[in-house]
C-alpha cells in the first residue's frame, strides 16, 4: 500500500512566501549603523538611573503606605474595616482596574478577560 506523503515534508513550504522591497537587506547594515549612531549609547550611570528611580519610588510608596495605614487603622473602629474596604472597591471602575493592570505590567495570560468585559 502506498504511504501518504507528509504535506509538510516539502522544501518549497520552508521558504518565506513574502516579497520585501528591492535592496531591503543590502541596505540594512548602513541603516542600522546610522540608527545606533543617532541614538547615543547611554553611559553606565545613566543606565542605572531608571532602576534607582524605581527603587526610590517603591520605598516612598511603602513608607507612605505604612504611614497612612497606621494612621487609619488607629482611627477606625475594628468593625468598620470591612465596610470601608467594600465601599472603596465599589468606587473603582473596571477601566481603572484595567489601567492599573497595564501600568503594573501584568501579563495578559494571567487574567480572565471575561471577568472584565462581561456585559
Amino acid at each position: 500500500m502506498e504511504q501518504k506523503r507528509d504535506i509538510l515534508d516539502n522544501k518549497e513550504l520552508r521558504k518565506m512566501p513574502y516579497k520585501v522591497p528591492e535592496g531591503y537587506f543590502a541596505a540594512k547594515p548602513a541603516q542600522m549603523m546610522a540608527a545606533v549612531k543617532e541614538k547615543p549609547r547611554q553611559s553606565v550611570v545613566r543606565r542605572f538611573v531608571p532602576y534607582v528611580a524605581a527603587a526610590a519610588s517603591f520605598l516612598i510608596l511603602i513608607a507612605g503606605g505604612t504611614f497612612l495605614l497606621d494612621k487609619h487603622t488607629q482611627a477606625l473602629p475594628e468593625d468598620n474595616y470591612y465596610s470601608a474596604d467594600a465601599q472603596l472597591y465599589n468606587e473603582i471602575s473596571e477601566e481603572d482596574m484595567i489601567a492599573y493592570l497595564i501600568y503594573s505590567g501584568a501579563h495578559v495570560e494571567e487574567f480572565e478577560f471575561s471577568d472584565f468585559f462581561a456585559e
Binding site: D6, R14, M16, P17, Y18, F25, A30, V36, H107, V108
Partner: protein, 188 residues
C-alpha cells in the same frame, strides 16, 4: 563563512574579535549583514507585517549594539541575537494582545486577516494556509515550530535561545507539527 547567497560572511568569532580590537562599527555592520535577514524573517513570522518586523528589527539591533560591551561569550553570538529578537517579538505580541483586548478585538483574527490582506504575499494557497495554521498556535509552540521548521535550528540551539529543555522543545515541536499537518491535510 559562505552565506546562502554565495557571499562571504564573518563568523561569530571574527565579529567578536573585530569588536574587541576596537573596530566596533565594522563588527556591528558585519553582525547586521550576517543576521539581519534571518532575524527579520523570525520577526515577520510573529508579526505578519513588514512594517512591524522592520520596526522590531531596528529595536533588536539597538539592543544588540547597547549590550555588545556586556556580551560575555557564555552563549554564541547568533543564539544571543535570536534571544533578543524573540523577546522583542513576544513583548510585541503581548502588547498587541492587551490593545486588542481593550478594543474588544480578537488578536488572532486580526493577525489572520493580515495574512489574507498582505500585498507582499508571494506564495500559493498551501503556503498561505500554512502561515494561518502557524498563527493559530500558542506563542511557545509557534516559536519552536518557526525556529525548527523554517530556520532549521538544532534543538540544542533552540534550547539556548528559549531557556527550555531539549525534551520539552521536542514535545512542543511534535505537537505543533502534527496540529498543522492535520489542519493542512483537511484542506489539501
Amino acid at each position: 563563512m559562505i552565506a546562502a547567497d554565495g557571499t562571504t560572511r564573518m563568523t561569530d568569532k571574527e565579529i567578536i574579535a573585530l569588536y574587541r580590537s576596537g573596530e566596533k562599527d565594522r563588527a556591528f555592520a558585519s553582525l547586521v549583514e550576517s543576521y539581519g535577514e534571518r532575524l527579520y524573517w523570525h520577526l515577520r513570522r510573529f508579526t505578519n507585517s513588514h512594517e512591524d518586523a522592520d520596526d522590531l528589527l531596528q529595536e533588536c539591533f539597538m539592543k544588540i549594539w547597547t549590550s555588545l560591551p556586556d556580551f560575555r561569550e557564555e552563549s554564541r553570538l547568533y543564539t544571543w541575537a535570536y534571544r533578543i529578537a524573540t523577546n522583542e517579538a513576544l513583548n510585541h505580541l503581548r502588547k498587541n494582545r492587551w490593545l486588542a483586548a481593550l478594543q474588544r478585538e480578537n488578536l488572532d483574527a486580526v493577525m489572520e486577516q493580515r495574512i489574507d490582506d498582505d500585498p507582499s504575499f508571494d506564495g500559493n494557497e498551501l503556503q498561505r494556509e500554512l502561515m494561518k495554521a502557524i498563527n493559530r498556535l500558542p506563542a511557545k509552540q509557534k516559536l519552536v515550530f518557526n525556529l525548527r521548521y523554517f530556520d532549521e535550528l538544532s534543538y540544542e540551539d533552540i534550547a539556548e535561545i528559549t531557556g527550555t529543555s531539549v525534551g520539552a522543545l521536542k514535545a512542543s515541536y511534535h505537537f505543533a507539527y502534527n496540529k498543522i499537518k492535520e489542519e493542512l491535510e483537511k484542506k489539501f
